[in-house]
């Protein structure tokens, strides 16, 4: 057995220093489309190219609704693409909803270093769930920040939902939410949980969990990388400021390239 102890020690510390410093390792994140100034013709072309209407035409160019982006890269690849793709600090993208301002949904000081999380997969493709699982691996190690996964809603302070909410998962999700003690918050993770993603609204999928549960924090991405989810958790705990999920081209500083 001692071989494992030695192995563990020799591996050293792998954990990221985020959120104290920003993580810059390559391959961390797929990045995000940037709301870009461009001509209306170009903008229209970009908008038709987007399969989930994440891009919206605007006066100044293309607005981006991050809730809908599924990382298909269609707006980013190819020679005729004026869309920019953000790769620096891009994972700090979790936003908040008006729900999160409710007084009785706020976590008090007792929760500042200990939040137990129930993860419910409401019907995703497995990528988001896998990224949530990565939070426990030595690279992200969310225990160091006081986040713990729990298998039962009775111990959970925070409900992390991934997936587009299928008909079959409505009852389990509702029961899980109801079984949680107050105060409780909901973090919706991934484009599917925010907007239905590629699955959209259908006879099986509800197009996101927002209409079904009071979501506090939204984490965009398909799937969001582990650090984005971690940022979402920190936002839910009130330890990081939220980002904007709808980004306007007119706010963009850069000129069309």
């Amino acid at each position: 057995m001692s071989q494992w102890v030695i192995k563990g020690l020799r591996t050293g510390i792998k954990s990221t220093r985020y959120p104290r410093t920003i993580e810059t390792a390559p391959g961390m994140s797929p990045g995000l489309p940037v709301a870009t100034r461009m001509s209306p013709d170009m903008a229209q072309m970009m908008v038709t190219r987007c399969p989930t209407s994440a891009l919206e035409p605007a006066q100044a160019g293309v607005d981006v609704n991050l809730r809908r982006c599924i990382h298909c890269f269609r707006c980013a690849r190819g020679t005729d693409s004026p869309m920019e793709w953000e790769r620096e600090r891009d994972f700090e993208c979790a936003g908040v909803t008006p729900n999160s301002n409710d007084h009785d949904r706020r976590f008090g000081p007792a929760f500042s270093r200990s939040i137990h999380i129930l993860v419910v997969d409401a019907g995703d493709c497995g990528a988001c769930l896998n990224e949530v699982k990565q939070l426990n691996n030595p690279y992200y190690n969310m225990h160091r920040l006081g986040f713990f996964l729990t298998p039962t809603p009775r111990h959970a302070d925070l409900l992390l939902v991934v997936g587009a909410l299928t008909e079959h998962m409505r009852l389990p999700l509702r029961k899980a939410y109801d079984a949680m003690p107050t105060p409780k918050r909901v973090v919706a993770v991934g484009a599917c949980a925010l907007s239905g993603g590629i699955f959209g609204r259908s006879f099986m999928c509800a197009g996101g969990v927002g209409d079904f549960l009071p979501v506090d924090v939204e984490v965009p991405g398909n799937p969001p990388p582990p650090l984005a989810i971690l940022h979402g958790l920190l936002v839910a705990a009130g330890r990081k400021p939220p980002a904007l999920l709808y980004r306007r081209a007119e706010d963009s500083t850069e000129a069309p390239g």
Binding site: R154, P172, L173, A176
Partner: protein, 715 residues
Amino acid sequence: MTNMDLLLVVILGLCGAGIVLPLAVEERRIPMALGSLGVLASIALLCLSGVSLFGDVSFHASLWTIPSLATLTLSLDRLSALFLFVAGLVLLPGSIFASGNLSAYLGKYSLRTFCVAYFALFATLVLIPLSADALSFLMLWELMSILIYLLVNFEHELPEHTRAGYLMLAIGEAGTILIALAFIILARGGSLEFASMKAIGNAFGEQARWAVFLLAFFGFGVKAGLIPVNFWLPQAYTSAPRPFVPVLAGATLNLGLYGIVRVNGDLLPVATVGPGLVALIIGSVTALLGILYATTQSDLKTLLAHSSIENAGIITAAFGAGFIFVASNHPAIAAIAFAAAFYHMANHSIYKTLLFCATGTVDSSVGTRSIDRLGGLIKTMPLTAGFFLVGALSIAALPPFNGFVSEWLTLQAMLQSAELASTGVKIVFAICGAILALTAGLAVTCFVKAFAMAFLGMSRSESAAQAPRARVSAAVPMAFLAVLCFLLGVAPTYVIPVLDGAIAPIAHQALAADALVPPFFSRNIHHGELPAGFVADFHKLGAQIGQSVMPGRGLVVLHRGTAANPVVFAMSTSYMAVVLLLMLLGAYVVFRLIVARDRSVERRTVWDGGIRRLLPEMTYTGTGFSNPVRVIFEAVFRPTTVEDTRETVGKHFRAAIRRTRGENHVLDRLVLDPISDAALWVANGFARMHHGFLNAYVFYGLGALLAALLVARLA
């Protein structure tokens, strides 16, 4: 005529009335008559035995002499009085319970028969401990066997009851024969009276002593439920009708123990270590097997029956330890062992009667005793659940209830084997102590299962969900017994001196009370043997607290050792109960007033993983709960037939997985089956001789004649 004669006449008169009255009154009034007469007779019995037990009064009466055989004699010493008093404690609530439960049988079975047999048995139960000669003892013993058979087989239309009754009767008869043989040896002096048997005790040699011990031990062991002669017991207890089981379990089992003590402790006291070892080993193994089988039962009544075997085993083991200590000349430790045994016997009678009353109440309310079909009864039958819980806590030996005191004392007495010289005996003690400790642990498992699966969780059947509450006739006896469980648990220091009188003659020392319950309360303590420093140390611990309110010896049970080791063990359930209560109260107050002051408690349904409905069939069953025990002890249970019928449609579709687990009780496997196989083998041999040729029969005749001649010649 003394008061005691009068009381005895009253008891017997009431029993006589109980036998005659049913023939006169209407059948539907019989339960009432049974209840009132039973209560009166029990009270009289408690008075009679109480006078002797607390007042140290004995009683002796020669009734009439049967020429050339014996003088029928009745005698009441404190040993008899103890057993009678315990019987009274059982019969009093038992009679109320019986009267309440009897009317259910109205129209189906004859209540008259029940009542007649019940009071006849009542009288027999009173007279057996009183009889002081072998002839009346054996006659009464035989009468008791038959009466118990009649009562067990009360619901005679069910074939399994009849079968259980016959089995019990057959084994009981075998036991009586053994007992009779033991008395024949004891009566070598020519007299059948116990007093004269006792007088010639020294005349017996080693072999005769062994013979008497083994015959009496196993003969009485039949009624006491010791291996290997107890296979009738679970079946008989299960078959016995509801109104009778509490009395059967609480009173008749004790008579077997009484026989063992009377013969082996009093008439011909065990003088060597050997018989004590036999009792210790048989007792320990009985206890382990009893609790193992109890844990895996799913019928509450059968579970309790196996648990009776367990308790009989513990008591017998304590007796065995006592015998060994007596034989090794350690009377003080022997007295502790006997105190433990008697205490446990009384405790067992009380909590087992309580548990059987609660089970009977559940049975009558729900219509089943199968744990796998009960569940959630605490909501529909809260009172019964509470009383069952008290019984379960007591039998699982948890403080502050009575089982804890006696099991603790038993194990403490076993630990004193360190005082013994022989290493072999010490090893046996160590093994048996380990077995008993394991038994105690399994008993907790067993009764957690019994209580949790029957009373907590979801109702597993419609009738369990709508079970009516217990009636007064059931609640009153249960309450009485539950209070006794508590009192015997918190006030052992008041019980042990009472037991002392019964212990003294068999331990050859009357100091059990002084050894176990030092007089910390008495002001003139320095007249006792307690060294001043020792008393001062205990006073620092608060052993004298309460002396001004309660007269008596004190509230600490302890065993004093040598100067180098002044306290061997010490314990006070009274103080423990007070502390427990304070802690509970304190925790409640702290929680209510400080932690949860401005918080409300919300009740939500059970978290079920998000499925549509959590059904009772998805919750643990009693069988499932105890299955680990079954798996761990597979060598004992050895399930013989595991049928695994997979009905398949095509090759892999499955319609059903059917499994029937056939279990052959370890005693049946090792004892009964070889005997019956051998009997069948012999019978087959004889059958083969009967093949019908005339010549063959002539040859048999000739052969027999030759053999007879040969024997005569040789002799």
